[in-house]
Amino acid sequence: MNAPVRPESLHTPVSVTVTGARLTYGGTELFSDLTLRIEPGVTTCLLGSSGVGKTTLLRMVAGLAEPEPPTVVATDDDAPLRGRIAYMAQQDLLLPWLSVLDNVLLGARLRHERRSPNLTARARALLEQVGLAEREKDRPATLSGGQRQRVAIARTLMEDKPLVLMDEPFSALDALTRLRLQELAATVLAGRTVLMVTHDPLEALRLGHRIHVMTGRPATIGPALEPPALPPRAVDDPALLALQAELLRRLAG
């Protein structure tokens, strides 16, 4: 894994503020009047147990779920977010009929962009960065779960968008692979605006510059916890373990 590949055009990191967020499901109010600020250039982690509505909140920001009134998703530059996000889910979402390289280039394919040598070179560089330079011609089925998620990271970076949204991107992986990929993600996402939803306090502590805990029904979002030092933080850092205990306490809330 070499030095990070800088995108051709580094965007000014965007910041996003969600206000008045509200979600009702089957007559029950999951949350209302929530506020979440996604600061520019850093990773914001939204930590919460399953069913708390954090994924739906992320999907509202992503434009995949219709925001329930009076939810407002606003950017600091007042331009809409549409077309300015890169999305990564818990599943790798690789298309089984495309090669690894073609999967990284999926966005260009879907938008009918010309596949210039420049574009392909950048995709190759990203694959090299995630440690899969040799596998570009292989089909996803031949890769392990961790390798597949690496390709998904490369695809997300290939999109080169001002805001990266990640929905529990590593929760389907085994513990060791998860730790390795967190390291990789922290390196390659440095300097970008990221919102990551997770239920794993350790993951939030390793990757997040700012960590919000979302708990309760109706759910509330707590103030940001800003751990010292920069991600990726070491797993065996005693300070980190102390904070993990604190986060677990807040989660149990």
Binding site: G63, Y87, A89, L106, G107, L110, R111, H112, R139, A141
Partner: protein, 253 residues
């Protein structure tokens, strides 16, 4: 090894057949032995080739037309809500009518020639293809659609690059069914009214107590059906190398 096993099975079945004929002494006009059928196959080869080619052309034309029309209708149904609303009930109700009951009508409208048989085969094939492909198009993995949406793909692009390739395995199962029923459609059409084809030959041989010829025609039809199925199967394997193989014939034991 597989071929050898199949040959042994066939040899045993033929031996049992011959044994039944020799032991019970059934007259030749009720059940001819395999040797008699082989003799008929040899003696009547020109006749069988002539009628067989007619039936084969009907089957292949029906298959091509049925697949084309079924594919178009599935794509239309998947693409347009209005089409789904208005055509789905019609399609379902039309399938409640036994297609074979329409054979006399088709002969009345399209004559004794090939057209009525091709129409019959097309009708039989049309529905499995339509439902299989439509089902496949509807069951696209949601995550892929979400991802495509965040990548700014148009509806057409999603259909072409994601939904259609994802539906190909389902379409493949429809095609296998179609290959199996195509000969049935053609032969039923020939039974109802024709002047050529294996179905016609079988009816006439039956009426003239030439049961060995009837069995010979049946054997040719069986070879067509198996060859067609094998060809479709090979085509699908070649076209969908990414699909995990779940073919029962390949079971490792």
């Amino acid at each position: 090894m597989r071929i050898l096993r199949a040959l042994v099975t066939i040899a045993v079945l033929l031996a049992v057949w011959q044994g039944v004929v020799s032991l019970t002494g059934v007259p030749r006009y009720i059940l001819p032995g395999p040797m008699a059928v082989a003799d008929a196959l040899h003696r009547q080869a020109p006749l069988l080739i002539q009628h067989g080619s007619t039936t084969l052309i009907e089957i292949l034309l029906g298959l091509a037309l049925g697949v084309a029309l079924g594919g178009i209708s599935a794509l239309t149904l998947a693409s347009f809500r209005t089409a789904r609303r208005w055509l789905m009930p019609v399609l379902v109700v039309s399938q409640a009518i036994p297609v074979f009951a329409l054979a006399p009508l088709l002969v009345l409208w399209l004559g004794y020639g090939m057209a009525s048989k091709v129409a019959m085969a097309t009708l039989v094939i049309f529905f499995p293809i339509t439902t299989a492909l439509f089902d496949g198009l509807r069951r696209t993995e949601r995550g892929w659609l979400d991802l495509a949406r965040t990548m700014g793909a148009s509806r057409r692009s999603v259909l072409w690059h994601i939904r259609l390739p994802a539906a190909l395995p389902a379409f493949g199962s429809g095609l296998r069914v179609a290959a199996a029923v195509a000969p049935i459609g053609a032969v039923i059409g020939e039974w109802v009214g024709s002047s050529a084809g294996l179905g016609y030959l079988m009816l006439h041989a039956n009426a003239r107590m030439q049961i060995d010829l009837m069995f010979a025609a049946l054997a040719v039809l069986g070879v067509f059906a198996v060859a067609l199925y094998a060809a479709v199967d090979a085509l699908l394997r070649w076209a969908l190398p990414w699909q995990p193989d779940t073919h029962p014939a390949d079971e490792k034991d």
